[in-house]
């Protein structure tokens, strides 16, 4: 079992994607199959950017168990997602204007994240949102 915890700061656009890069690098070092790495990279990047844009940052916990299940938890303390159904509609986005100017926030976030992960769980309230993604390696 391997667990690592990373912090993501609010509106820290300059470092956007850094945690996902680190996770991607770890996966390559371990020797995880490239098709799995690709899925995790895309889902993780989207989720990390979401934390920076929509929420007030938070933490990302990355773990792998001996059975080859990779779990990524994205826990933020943001305002929560008021209408999940709407947020899960392709093309929908609430990205703020400064985020859009940086080229983030195409609005495919949650849909893409779900599409690329093997298991997807989302809990949201006014205290924050936690997304848990599971990927099977073998």
């Amino acid at each position: 079992m391997l667990t690592k915890k990373y912090l993501v700061k609010e509106k820290d656009y300059v470092n956007a994607g850094k945690v996902s890069s680190l996770i991607k690098k770890e996966l390559k070092t371990i020797g995880v199959d490239e098709s799995v790495i690709r899925k995790i990279a895309i889902a993780s990047y989207e989720a990390e950017i979401n934390m920076i844009i929509h929420a007030n940052g938070g933490e990302i916990i990355f773990s792998i168990d001996d059975e080859g299940v990779i779990t990524l938890v994205f826990a933020d303390t943001g305002p929560g997602i008021p209408n999940i159904e709407l947020a899960m509609t392709p093309g929908w986005s609430t990205a703020s204007d400064d985020a859009r100017q940086m080229g983030f926030g195409a609005g495919m976030g949650l849909v893409n994240i779900k599409r690329y992960s093997d298991t997807f769980d989302l809990k949201t309230s006014q205290e924050g949102t936690t997304i848990t993604l599971g990927f099977k390696v073998i």
Partner: protein, 388 residues
Amino acid sequence: MKSVIKYTLDKCHKCMKCIQACPSHALSMKENRIVINTTECINCGKCIKACVNQGLTAIASSLDHLKDYDYTVCLVPSSLVAHADVKHSVASLFAALKKLGFDEAISLSYVESGLYQKERKNKDSLMISSFCPLVNNLVKKKFPALADSLLPYDYPSEIMAKELRKKYKDINLGIFNLCECEAKLELAKYPHNNMEYEVDHAISIVDIFPKISSNLMETNEDVDFDINGLLLTCPRAIKRNDDILLENSYDTVTNVLDMAEFGLLDDFKLLRLYPCFSGCLGGSLVWGNGYVAKRNLMRLRDFNHEIEIQIPEEELLNKRMVDNDKAGEKSFKEKLEHFNLVNNIFEKLPGYDCTACGLGGCRIMAEEIAKGNRKLEDCKILVKENKQ
């Protein structure tokens, strides 16, 4: 992949600059000499530039082998043509090449131009151009998730060599490719014994350029080339669609590949990536500099025409076996155990990545300790700290 790099010093200054420069951690110092891990090396040439004592060099073949064949052809890359800025100078360049002993000198621009037209027609998903061996090596080693996005086309030198083999099928034919970079030296039978290639010998341009230039003189011979193919060696000179992304330095190329892996570049159709400054014009085995060469190319633009390529699609494809050997690979559980073992050792190391131990950094040291090749006490910093 095979390394073309060789270490030549008897006495090393031990500055570790090459070890620090190597992006693949392929270099280490053992018994005061640099050792090259030939399967990890991607032939980027960074170590050669980093060494101030000319301790590392790329091994190329030599023109002495011209005598081994009954008929010899020289493949001329566009970056060499860019030494001229008018057509009759290009003609004298080709004549000078023949004076070196070749029976024929032929421009690769026809093939390059054909590939260019094919690449531009790609309208499916994001693809990566495959003409640069260094980019191919990088993708295979460091961005394997993108390997399926490499275009299936072979190197221009190989496509041309295959055509020549057909044309001169009953002749003892020798094909010599003039190379702009370390990575291209690998794409020939000799000197690195890569028998799966059609090109016989990889020659370094810098090695023979002085001879070429002393042979230069007026000639009545004509020369032909395809301007699109020529321009293709220089990213800033190419006409380009919005859906083609161009970059031309090692760091920007790795940055682009990183983004592509995150799925951030899916709006583009083609990534044309040149790890060298000004594209192949800035290759490290090219004589002269990329600025002048680029200006020359722009001048040549007015002189020539476009030629529709005649080579069938089938023959443009790269059919060499890919070494995608997953047999004998460890199970995931074993891989994870190894990773955790390395991680535990890594956490005991200072983390300075100073390379004083002769390895590429603490992570590599941890790997080597896990394999039993080194001990914790081999870390110079730890030993010093423990003494205090």
